[in-house]
């Protein structure tokens, strides 16, 4: 035990003091910020240039209706800024100037197409009676890939056509407005008022699952690399002359795990400080979601997941001889983790499906899947939780024995990558 602590402390201090730790600690949040926030900002900003489009319809009323709806939609954000937390997608302000045309001849279409092609015009919408009847309007534009803008435009045009249809039936403007006013369908848990806001819960759970995934992945791989490094620097024999292979492996997993907790702690603290005053609001918002019970489960599944995967990684790190070999192997080891993330949304939606139950009991996917189920579905049967933890602990025990044996032989083996039969032999060595 004494040796384990000395080894863990060295591992911890050397890592925390290293330049790469400092860089990672600051770089990852920046990267996350860069990947999530910046593109959104850029996308929302759009371009400030004014674009010209033509709406072609058989009758002037329809064309005018479409034009006025587009123009209104463009002005909307200014008046509705304070309405909701969720941003309503809208056309970038004053982006389009809209002209109308009632010339629905094929020659006109060809002429407009040529204009768009020559960039004299940015776009035109072909809203002839035939097209409306077929429920498919062609929007000829150079910006075919502006999915969001085009999607919003589609909704706006739909809205305009519905209004026009109602108007043709003789309804008054305020009647139309009232009938088209959207309603919100609000999901409510049968647990009543105390139940957390499902949207917030969904996002908070996804966030926690991602943190769980990233830290287990990152630090498992760190264990692998650090063992590989020790192997290539040939220090193993010196270490083994005082500490047992078991102590070495345990110390390493403990030390690297502590570094992981430190890093997550720093991120959490930084996020807390940066959000500052907003934190009070956030705290109130997630109060219902982040129960103490859930945080305890997070801790339990993080620890079990980390120990399971880092043990596997330790065995792999001791088997391989180079970074390239390690990379090939680490993908295989991490496969169940990656698979759980791929299925996680499905599990959020169907937390009681047989896939979810299987995933939450299978030890290599249990940390992510069972945790998600507990978070999303507060009445997850207790015996399933207990069974999942039991299976996980038993698997860890078996893996520590098995990987310990591989590790003990592997760290002293240099040269070619061992084959499966060779590894089986290692396990059998006394």
């Amino acid at each position: 035990m004494h040796n384990i602590l000395i080894i863990a402390r060295r591992e911890y201090l050397e890592r925390v003091r290293s330049r790469s730790f400092v860089i990672m600690t600051f770089f990852i949040p920046l990267l996350m910020f860069g990947v999530t926030v910046v593109p959104t900002m850029l996308a929302n900003r759009g371009s400030s240039e004014v674009k010209h489009m033509v709406v072609v319809a058989a009758d002037r009323d329809t064309a005018e209706m479409i034009r006025s709806r587009i123009e209104q939609e463009q002005e909307k954000p200014k008046e509705k800024t304070d309405s909701k937390l969720t941003q309503k997608r809208s056309l970038p302000a004053a982006n389009f100037t809209v002209a109308v045309s009632t010339n629905t001849a094929e020659s006109e279409r060809a002429a407009l197409t040529a204009k768009v092609k020559a960039k004299e015009l940015d776009a035109f919408l072909w809203a002839t009676p035939d097209a409306i009847k077929a429920r498919k309007l062609d929007f000829v534009t150079n910006d075919v890939s502006s999915f969001i803008d085009n999607g919003v435009l589609g909704l706006t045009v739909n809205d305009a056509l519905r209004r026009q249809a109602l108007k043709n039936k003789g309804l008054k403007d305020d009647e139309i407005e009232a009938s088209l006013e959207s309603v919100e369908v609000a999901p409510q848990s049968p647990l009543g008022k105390g139940a957390p806001d499902p949207k917030v819960m969904y996002i908070a759970t996804l966030g926690m699952v991602m943190v769980l995934y990233m830290t287990v992945l990152l630090y498992g791989i760190n264990v692998m690399r650090s063992i590989l490094e020790e192997k290539t620097s040939r220090i193993m024999e010196v270490m083994l002359s005082t500490a047992s292979a078991k102590d070495l492996m345990a110390g390493k997993i403990l030390g690297v795990g502590a570094v992981g907790l430190t890093q997550v702690g720093i991120w959490a603290a930084t996020a807390g400080i940066l959000s500052g005053g907003a934190l009070v609001g956030v705290a109130a918002l997630i109060k219902g979601v982040l129960s103490v019970k859930l945080l305890i489960y997070f801790g339990v599944y993080f620890l079990l997941g980390y120990v399971l995967y880092s043990t596997l990684c330790a065995a792999v790190g001791s088997m391989v001889n180079s970074e390239q070999e390690a990379q090939q192997m680490q993908f295989l080891v991490m496969m169940p983790m990656i698979l759980s993330v791929i299925f996680i949304i499905n599990i959020f939606q169907h937390p009681s499906s047989s896939l979810a139950i299987f995933g939450s009991l299978f030890p290599f996917t249990a940390p992510l899947v069972m945790f998600s189920r507990i978070a999303i579905q507060p009445d997850t049967p207790w015996w399933q939780i207990a069974l999942s933890i039991g299976i996980l602990v038993a698997t860890i025990y078996g893996m520590v024995l098995l990987c310990g044996r591989i590790y003990r032989v592997g760290i002293l083996m240099y040269g070619k990558k061992p084959s499966l039969p060779e590894i089986m032999k290692w396990i059998k060595y006394a």
Binding site: S233, M236, V238, S241
Partner: protein, 300 residues
Amino acid sequence: MLTIELNQVRKCYDQFVAVNDLSFSIEQGGVFGLLGPNGAGKTSTIRMMIGITVPDSGQINLFSKPFERKSLQKVGYLPEERGLYKKMKVLDQLVFLGELHGMTAGAAKQKAAEWCKRLEIDAWLQKKVEELSKGMQQKIQFIAALLHDPDFIIMDEPFFGLDPVNATLLKDVMLDLKKQGKTILFSTHRMDQVEKLCDSICLINKGNAVLQGDLKTIKAGYGKRNVQIEYEGNGDFLQKNPLVSAYNNYGNYVEVRLAAGADAQQLLHMVAERSRVNKFELMEPSLEEIFINMVGKNDA
């Protein structure tokens, strides 16, 4: 008291017998040479002595007790595969290894400073290991093996890669440790380098002990049958001479082995007649020669 005792120790890897029923023991304060060519089983034997691997059969007693990990705190080991944490500072590294051997951080720090001063690398205590030259790293490794004042010191190829100045420095340290009553085991394939230091030896080849015992007794058994001759003139006549059973030309001198029953005086006369003799010395055979004699030239 016996520092270490191996009794019929055997280790196999698959079909390959690395160590075949090997037995030897070292008295406290003795300097022991575990000698043999590459792949003879020296490192496999040492690894079993310090519990890195477990013998398939046979018994190992360390400090007169059956092997237990706790005893390792009194053992210093310099492995053949040298290695240190490259990114760690020299002092931190030594303190870490000292602590693993049961020292307190303070004591380890003090000892590390003392040893570094003695080996003339105290200026590098705060440098990272990767900034040190190979020779300096060797010294650090050497200190790491001795820092915790072990009673039993195992050195696998201790002089490998050292220049003569540093080799002498280390040899003096070893002699000093011997005077303090420490037990030392050298393992090497360069037999010439340690034969002057050892009291007793065990020669092993292909996992088998081929010769072991007190070094002086072994050599005496072979008698002074070797002659080193330095001369001016043509010495070709020595090559196919009935008085000579083996001939080795080293350029500046030749070494010959007297044939059975041949008299050294007779040879001296013969050489003196044909050339100018500068040196004519009767010598004990070197360990290397004894070894080659025992196992045949192909195995050496």
